[in-house]
Symmetry: C2
Subunit: 374 residues, 2 copies
């Protein structure tokens, strides 16, 4: 095993190449290539010798060069906004892990604003990504067509495709089912005046959660007493609380389209209206953000299984690699209820539904519906 092969003295950034290994092991460069290709036909002995030589000279195959002629880069583009939002942070982490398990790497694009998505997507495509996962942004027509032309599969997570984005696969949490769950819980607990706090009107997450909630209430012969918009933010929730809880027919239960608004609403309910939660008011959120578990809030909420969401997304990209994928395929991940103390519980008819220490969860089957276009 020689040692001083790596650097030729001068500062020229010279890489150890397969030719070096070939020379060292006394084989051809093709043999070296095969030794590093899982399913290739090499004599076990040769392979061993090659790997040893590679190790000696410090060789690692150049993934860039490799992908130039395999036409598979092993890179998956990930477009994401607001990583600071805990939900997207967890999603990104799960995506990263799911990809790595499959030998892929995420090339991530942080979208400063939703409109920038197209531009970012184009840049990703120039890196010959094997597929793209888009979280938190809608897809324009042009880019979808472009991906289709490049035979690059694209998966939207927790979004509906835009008008023209029929080419994309869709993976999302069952927001409708989640809203339904909440309706069942609140109705069973005997609440009469239900309110919904929407996030941003245009988003599918907010509208779907509302749809599930309203239809769930209807199933119990109930309707919505009030409705406000909180733009998915803490302050939005706090402000909405002022309007919502100041009404003559004050709601006794509020379902918020996400946790952040729910926290704002809880704070305002206590500070401004002196309400006790859940005695005077039940509050339910969506997402199961870390803050929701804090002792001062103990927010009952709907959790999305981020890991499963990520797995499904990655599986979808892989499945569509190479295949035609003419029609939009979609996959719904069920949500589950996380029971804490911010919402009253139904009277226990049979047994104890409620574990005060950890959290009790109930699964919900996917509602099975998911429109392909908004």
């Amino acid at each position: 095993m020689d040692d001083e092969i790596v650097e030729p003295g001068t500062g020229g950034r010279r890489w150890v190449t397969s030719a070096d290994v070939a020379r060292e092991a006394g084989v051809s460069r093709a043999a070296v290539s095969r030794a590093f290709t899982p399913g290739a036909s090499v004599a076990p002995e040769t392979r061993r010798r090659i790997l040893a030589a590679a190790d000696a000279v410090g060789y690692r195959p150049n993934a860039i060069a490799r992908s130039l002629n395999t036409r598979r880069s092993g890179i998956i583009g990930v477009v994401i906004t607001e990583i600071a939002n805990p939900f997207y942070a967890r999603l990104l982490e799960a995506l990263g892990i799911a990809l790595q398990e499959r030998g892929l790497m995420p090339l991530v694009s942080v979208a400063p604003d939703p409109e920038a998505t197209d531009e970012l997507l184009v840049r990703l495509l120039s890196y010959q990504v094997d597929g793209v996962v888009v979280a938190s942004a809608t897809l324009s027509s042009g880019i979808a067509a472009r991906c289709a032309a490049a035979r690059t599969p694209i998966v939207l997570v927790d979004r509906r495709a835009g008008e023209h984005g029929r080419e994309a696969a869709l993976v999302g949490a069952d927001n409708v089912g989640g809203g339904h769950l909440v309706a069942d819980l609140l109705a069973a607990a005997g609440h009469r005046r239900h309110a919904f706090l929407a996030g941003i009107e245009a988003t599918s997450t907010s509208t779907e959660r509302e749809r599930g909630f309203v239809s769930g209430l209807a199933a119990h012969g109930l309707t919505l007493t009030a409705r406000e918009v909180g733009r998915f933010s803490y302050v939005g929730g706090r402000d909405a609380a002022l309007r919502l809880l100041g009404r003559a027919d004050r709601p006794d239960a509020v379902f918020c389209a996400n946790d952040e608004m729910a926290l704002g609403l809880m704070d305002a309910a206590r500070a401004t209206f002196g309400l006790r939660i859940p005695q005077d008011l039940s509050v339910v959120g969506f997402d199961d953000t870390p803050s929701a578990a804090l002792a001062s809030y103990r927010l009952t909420t709907v959790a999305q299984d981020v890991t499963e969401l990520a797995e499904a997304a990655v599986t979808a990209v892989q499945e569509h690699t190479g295949s035609v994928a003419a029609s939009a395929r979609y996959r719904l991940i069920p949500c589950r209820l996380v029971l804490r103390e911010s919402a009253r519980l139904p009277p226990p008819p049979a047994s104890t539904l409620h574990d005060p220490n950890a959290m009790t969860t109930a699964a919900v089957p996917p509602s099975g519906r998911m429109p392909a276009a908004g």
Copy 2:
């Protein structure tokens, strides 16, 4: 402008190549290349014609092929753990934006555990990344040497280099200075019995914050009354509170190495000991996590400027690209105090230091020290 050039009918994933554009524009492939290279010499008129042709056939340069002979991929590897931790989430977001602004893309590696870093780094290197930013993991000797051999600059964010990692550049928040700030605040507020709640002992973040705090107290003639370890977690903080606040000489001020522990401690202080904050106990955290701002906590804390941290990291990678970078360089980003209501304020000698609505901040100059090795 012809139209149907893109797909040759069969499903063969054929890319639009520079040759197509060359043909379309009646020039050579070299000319096309130059038209897409910022500083190249092309006649303005030719370039215009080429760009138009490219647009017509839907051409974008293949970044992979390009980097094969420029030896610059435009990709920066980012190794990061626990994205779910809000601090790292914000850091990653800031890094992504900073990189994009400079025309670079982050290839991210999510480290399941700190030990996995080396393996991930090797994979990143095989993608010919132009540099690596490592957040939240220590660096082994082997990999540092490998990076050095490959002339790949590596920057550690908020970490100290391991024993052998002298090749890495270091960028970090001024944890020592941050601890110092807290000591000044608490001392000025008249507290007498100070406690420190450490995170994980082995981490530089925890030890540096402690060091700054202790030396800051010393400057006021004070010493630490008590000290506990909370492993950076909410439960850890809660448990530590039981030990810390049950003492005969109960501390009247606690500085926690991060916010999460501070929240746990606050909850336990109120629920278990019936303490009022800040009347009976002042609590200060570190990080300025979103939860810290919630009405129930209003945690006074030390904020790191994540954006600046990211900018510095990216700048460092770029600077070291191609240069020798034999000695470890480091850069400290100052922290600032975010005053809320969880800690008593010093009696206002001159004017109002405290804005109850938003938050008042005070800058601190970097302490100027940062050991290269732990």
